[in-house]
């Protein structure tokens, strides 16, 4: 079981390494979206500082969702998904491994790049830590929940947009808690509460989402 999970994670990482453009475009999207907001709302420093947590979080959300569409689609197209369905490891473990690989490729880099965006928005350096932790806790939840949507919409027309419609409402608590934690820190209050709630969401999602993803994969491939 562990061997299968490790195999899938290394395989997906290897594939991402050999197709770095896929990874790069999602990150680029993150940066571009975050750069669009000042162009839209004006570059007033106080305003930007106030909206920074929300903007960074929304950009992270959208970027994560963009890369979700590809999570299972490629494997479905070349038949490797079928082999995973017939594998020796439980499908929930396989799903968890895929999501872990997805997060390592699309979520973790966002955490690394977020401070640069924060710099663009002149977010006080003291908030970088909270921002990073909130993203670190929140992006896996986004991957987990989003993977359910990706599995449900496998092979459907209108795939990417339909996936967004299904998944964005479910993202709302993560967004509120994530951006809210940084807002709390910005107001001088402790972000502990929100971060702990994010951690709780992560634990619950990690426990239940893989089985939902497995069920969705079976529903979509039958």
């Amino acid at each position: 079981m562990i061997a299968a999970a490790r195999c899938i994670v290394t395989r997906d990482l290897l594939l991402a390494l050999r197709r770095p453009s896929d990874v790069g475009t999602a990150l680029l999207f993150f940066v571009i979206v975050a750069s669009l907001f000042p162009l839209g709302i004006g570059a007033e420093p106080d305003l930007l500082r106030a909206v920074a947590p929300g903007v960074i979080w929304v950009a992270a959300l959208l970027s994560s969702m963009l890369s979700l569409a590809r999570l299972f689609a490629a494997d479905h197209a070349d038949g490797t998904l079928e082999q995973m369905l017939l594998g020796a490891a439980p499908l929930g473990v396989v799903a968890a491994a895929k999501v872990l690989a997805h997060w390592l490729i699309s979520g973790l880099p966002l955490v690394a790049i977020a401070p640069l965006i924060a710099l663009q928005y002149d977010l006080p350096a003291s908030l970088y830590g909270t921002l990073a932790v909130s993203l670190l806790l929140g992006t896996p939840v986004l991957s987990l929940i989003g993977a359910i949507g990706a599995a449900l919409t496998l092979g459907l027309r209108g795939g990417g947009v339909l996936l967004s419609l299904l998944v964005l409402p479910l993202y709302v608590p993560v967004l509120i808690m994530g951006a809210g934690s940084v807002d709390m820190a910005a107001a001088g209050l402790s972000p502990q509460g929100q971060l702990q709630l994010l951690a709780a969401l992560l634990v619950v999602a990690a426990a239940f989402a893989p089985w939902a993803i497995a069920a969705a994969l079976r529903i979509s491939t039958e």
């Binding site: 299968a4 195999c7 290897l14 038949g79 079928e82 082999q83 594998g87 020796a88």
Partner: protein, 204 residues
Amino acid sequence: MLEASNLDCLRGGRTLFRGLSFSLRGGELLRIAGANGSGKTSLLKILCGLLTPDAGEVRWQDTPIRQLREDYSRELVYLGHAPAVKDDLTAAENLAVACTLAGRTASPQQAGEALESYGLAADGVAVRRLSQGQRRRAALARLLLSADAPLWLLDEPFAALDAAAARFTEELIAGHVAQGGAAIYTTHQEANIGAAVLRVVKLG
């Protein structure tokens, strides 16, 4: 070993087959014949558990496969229509992944030998550079490493193969059956697999 009883299959509003029943024991070979669209692939998928039949059930060693789940998956090898190889990995890497996912360990040396038997070099060429026939051979190489799986389910195993590779595959399947394994395959072409018991299920 394998028993299918009263299988119904409806796809896209059409009834592909109704009340299909047969059984398969070790040392037997089953060929599923039928025209395009007659439900050969659907039947094969029902037999390996990828598809749920609209009626009836499939039993392995007298237990319904729906209960067995991974235990059943471990006993079989399924090679579908698509070669199930990742374009960006080499043939050897694909083989290693396929074996690990199926719960079998294969050393790089064994993988290399399997590929060589099919005339493929275990080099660093990504599968996207291989021809259709080479891809199918890379997928079939898995059979050489799956001798311990009693049941082989092969969907169009000879597609895109040249005569020599097709012959090799036929012998492989025949050898597996001779050693007590069971194999089910679908094909358009007439295949000549020398096997003790050859049964045919004709669909459509």
